[in-house]
Symmetry: C2
Subunit: 164 residues, 2 copies
C-alpha cells in the first residue's frame, strides 16, 4: 500500500510518499517528498492547473492507493482560507478521478502523533521526523516537512489501529 500525503496551499504544496507493509518492521518506508511551487504572477486558475498537473504526474509515477490530506480550519487563517480550500478542491477531484481513497488528518493530530504533543512547533516536528525516519532528507520548506509529518502520522495511526 502506498500513500501520497499532501499539505495543501496555493503558493506551495508539500507532498510525501510512503509505502506501508504490515509484514515488515518498521511497517512503513519513506520514499520521497518535495514541494510544488506556483508563481504569484500567474492567475489563480493557472496556479491550480499547475498543482493539478504536478500532482497528477506524482500519482502516475508512484501509483498510490490513498491520499492523506492535512485538514483545513477556516479559523486558523481566515484570509487565505478560500484559496487553500480551492487547492483542496482540485486535490479531492484528483482523488476521485484516480479512484484513490482520501483521508484527512488535523494539524493537531499530526503533531500529537509525531511528537507526543499537539502544540509542538515546526522545529520539534522536523527534529522528530529526522530521528524517526533515520534518513538525511533535505527539507527545503516547512510545507514539505508538514507533508512528511502528515504521511508518517498516518502510517503510525494506521499501525496502532491495526495492532490495537
Amino acid at each position: 500500500m502506498k500513500l501520497l500525503a499532501i499539505d495543501p496551499g496555493i503558493e506551495k504544496v508539500g507532498y510525501s510518499v510512503f509505502e506501508k507493509n504490515f509484514k515488515k518492521r518498521p511497517s512503513y518506508r519513506y520514499l520521497t517528498s518535495g514541494l510544488i511551487k506556483t508563481s504569484r504572477s500567474n492567475t489563480l486558475e493557472i496556479r491550480l492547473k499547475k498543482i493539478y498537473d504536478d500532482l497528477k504526474q506524482l500519482i502516475d509515477k508512484h501509483k498510490p492507493n490513498l491520499i492523506v490530506l492535512e485538514q483545513l480550519f477556516y479559523f486558523k487563517n481566515a484570509k487565505t482560507v478560500i484559496s487553500v480550500a480551492q487547492a483542496q478542491g482540485v486535490i479531492r477531484l484528483l482523488a476521485a478521478q484516480n479512484n484513490l481513497s482520501l483521508k484527512l488528518l488535523t494539524p493537531l493530530a499530526i503533531k500529537q502523533i509525531i511528537t507526543g504533543y499537539g502544540t509542538a512547533d515546526k522545529k520539534s516536528v522536523q527534529k522528530m521526523l529526522k530521528l524517526t525516519l533515520k534518513e538525511d532528507i533535505a527539507i527545503a520548506d516547512d510545507d514539505q516537512s508538514d507533508a512528511i509529518a502528515c504521511g508518517l502520522a498516518y502510517c503510525f495511526l494506521n499501525e496502532s489501529l491495526v495492532s490495537g
Copy 2:
C-alpha cells in the same frame, strides 16, 4: 462571445449561458440555464467530480469564451465556505484547462446591476430577470436564478463599459 455564468456550491451549482453580440440590440441573448445537483450520500470527492464532469459537458456543448463566477465571501457563510471554495477550485481548474478567461462578480454587484440596489431579495431579482429577459424560464431553484442574474449582470456591465 459566449459566457458561462456559475453560482458555485457543493450541493447545487447553478449555471446560465449567454451570448454577447455588440452589433445587435439587445447585445446579449439568453441561451440556457440549469442546476447541477450532487448527492449528500456521496463523498466530497465524488461530488466534486460530478460538478467537474457536468460543467465539462456544458463547456464542450456551448464552447464559451469566458466563465463568470459569483464571488465567495468567507464571512457570509463561514460554515460552508470551505466546501464551496473547493467547488470553486474545481471550476477555476476547468477554466485553465479549457483556456477560458474567468471573471468574478460579487453578489452585491450582481444585485446592484440587476435591480438597482445591492440588498435586493431573491424574489425581486427573479422578478427583474423575467421582466428583462422576456422569456418564460422555468426557475427550479434560487441557485439557478443566481446564475442567470450573474450572467446577465456581466452582460450589462460589459455593455456599459464598452459604451461608456
